[in-house]
Amino acid sequence: MDGNLLTFQNVSKIFRRVGFGFLGKAVVQALKDVSFSLSSEPEVLALVGESGSGKSTICRLILGLEEPTSGEILYKGKSISEWLKNNKKDYIREVQIIFQDPYEVYNPFYRVDRVLWMAIQKFNIASGDEASKLIYESLEAVGLRPREILGRYPHQLSGGERQRIMLSRIYLIKPKLLVADEPVSMLDASLRAIFLDHLRNFKDLGISTLYITHDLNTAYYIADRIMIIYSGRILERGPTEDVIKNPLHPYTKMLINSIPVPDPNKRWQDRVVIDVAKLQKLSSKELVSGCPFYNRCQFAMDICEKNFPSVKRINNQEVNCFLYE
């Protein structure tokens, strides 16, 4: 037991797409040597990366929807495959998720409250009157009026309402670990803040959250710690304030520098320069042994092409970059 809630130990994931026929299959390296952990104290850890960087794969690995190609994922010191084999019920009760899409996550055939009833039933949370009391309570806890929600079909509710029902589902189950996979990317700005506040308050219920996003802004708003992932590799991690105010990795710097500032008096002063030809070459996803950011990095050195740097600790932050070797 390392005392952590969740630990990734050198996890890699390779997808092989099987096509029918006699020739041709595609190999995609989604994750490479990913290691991180969530402490047993409730915290919000943000995993920030572009689309296709492998963050959704991490989410599916944790939920047991995929298996790692190599490396191990430990939950409370025991590997996930072991959990799923012996104590599947306990595991899925303790590790839950909020999906990105508030529309497709509801089966259009059923009423929306079914997701709550099913959770109660499958996890033996309560029965009879107490169950409906709990459902009322959990809906109210996320700011919904139960009477306007119960008995409705998914298409009768707005995206904001539906996503909040997902929140109330988590409130009902009270897992130990919540994986939130881009939960606000399809919500309007005016609703995001309210949603994120609820998510942050889950910490008080003893729920740790892995907040997966492409948006540094919301990560900054909600997370205690931030991890930056790029092309299947984690490049930098550390306390939110430190990473945002003092980014170390060139990629993190570029990200922060590219975010538009909502203040017309602080417009961008520099211009983005991108070598299009280089970018085109990069688009083919191959198994690279060097730093995945090599092609776009303005500080790229020869060593970066073939080798990937080990973790370097600077103050509270950890970074994988040869600039700090």
């Binding site: 099987v18 029918f20 099913m118």
Partner: protein, 288 residues
């Protein structure tokens, strides 16, 4: 109930299709009763009950044919048997299609590729000559065997339709949600996926019914298959071989053809109507 009415209101095609098909089914179901009264308990296929080629009259609304049988009675009997074979073979074919498509769509990977290839092969290869040879050489063909043989060659089309749907349903996040709520594979199949593709199963079924009735009619038209089952195809065969056309009694040939076409058209209207109603893009607009 209100939702169902809204569906019909939204799609007139569906309504027309359902009305026609239901009328045909009612006619087929009432056939024994109607014919009992009209022919005083005699069989509609009995030869020489009346004079040959009588013109339409009150007694014989469609006249009589070359062997002195009442055309209307024969039509109803034919309709009954055609629908019976169609629905039996169609149900069998749909069953095969649903099972195989579920396995393919849900498991994916090599199994899916294998089943798809088989289905495509059956779809591509002209099945009618094979069907004809089998029926020709099998000594005793009864209704059930005939349906089974036809079904064997007819599942591929509906399987294609259904598989595409399952494959798209499989990717939906609510399947993942069910999984992390502790649903088993079977529960997911029956509780999450099945209800959503019931309309598509019906679409597959009606394709299969159309296909099997067409195949059966074609077989009977050239005189293959069990002679004791007077389906509409058999009726047309009798009419053609007794020189009905040469003598100018067109109504006798036209009427069974009309019944068949009505069946096919109504099934297709239902298909198109269901697609209009359940097409996800339209669904957002209609809210049903």
């Amino acid at each position: 109930m209100k939702r169902i009415l809204l569906i019909f209101k939204y799609s007139p095609k569906l309504t027309v299709g359902v009305v026609i098909l239901l009328s045909l089914i009612v006619l087929a179901v009432l056939e024994p009763t109607i014919n009992y009264y009209r022919l005083n308990g005699r069989s509609s296929t009995e030869i020489g009950l009346f004079d040959t080629f009588l013109p339409p009259s009150r007694e014989h609304p469609f006249g009589t044919e070359a062997y002195g049988r009442d055309v209307l009675s024969l039509l109803l009997t034919g309709l009954k048997y055609s629908l019976l074979i169609g629905f039996t073979a169609g149900a069998l074919a749909t069953f095969i299609a649903v099972v195989l498509a579920s396995i393919a769509g849900y498991k994916g990977g090599r199994i899916e590729a294998f089943i798809t290839t088989i289905a495509n092969a059956i779809l591509i290869i002209p099945s009618w000559p094979i069907l004809a040879i089998i029926v020709l050489f099998v000594r005793k063909v009864d209704l059930l065997l005939l349906s089974a043989i036809i079904a064997f060659f007819s599942w591929a089309g509906s399987s294609r339709q259904i598989k595409a749907q399952i494959a798209s349903l499989r990717e939906r996040p609510y399947i993942d949600l069910a999984r992390v709520t502790g649903f088993s594979d079977l529960e997911i199949m029956f509780k999450e996926i099945l209800p959503n593709f019931l309309p598509y199963i019906f679409v597959g079924f009606s394709y299969a019914v159309t296909g099997t009735i067409m195949a059966e009619t074609a077989l009977r038209l050239v005189g293959l298959g069990p002679g004791d089952i007077p389906s509409l195809g058999q009726f047309i065969n009798w009419a053609i071989y007794s020189g009905t056309l040469a003598q100018g009694h067109y109504l006798i040939v036209i009427s069974p053809i009309t019944f068949l076409i009505l069946t096919f058209v109504s099934l297709n209207l239902i298909n198109v109507g269901l697609d209009e109603v359940f097409n996800p893009r339209l669904r957002q607009v209609t809210g049903v």
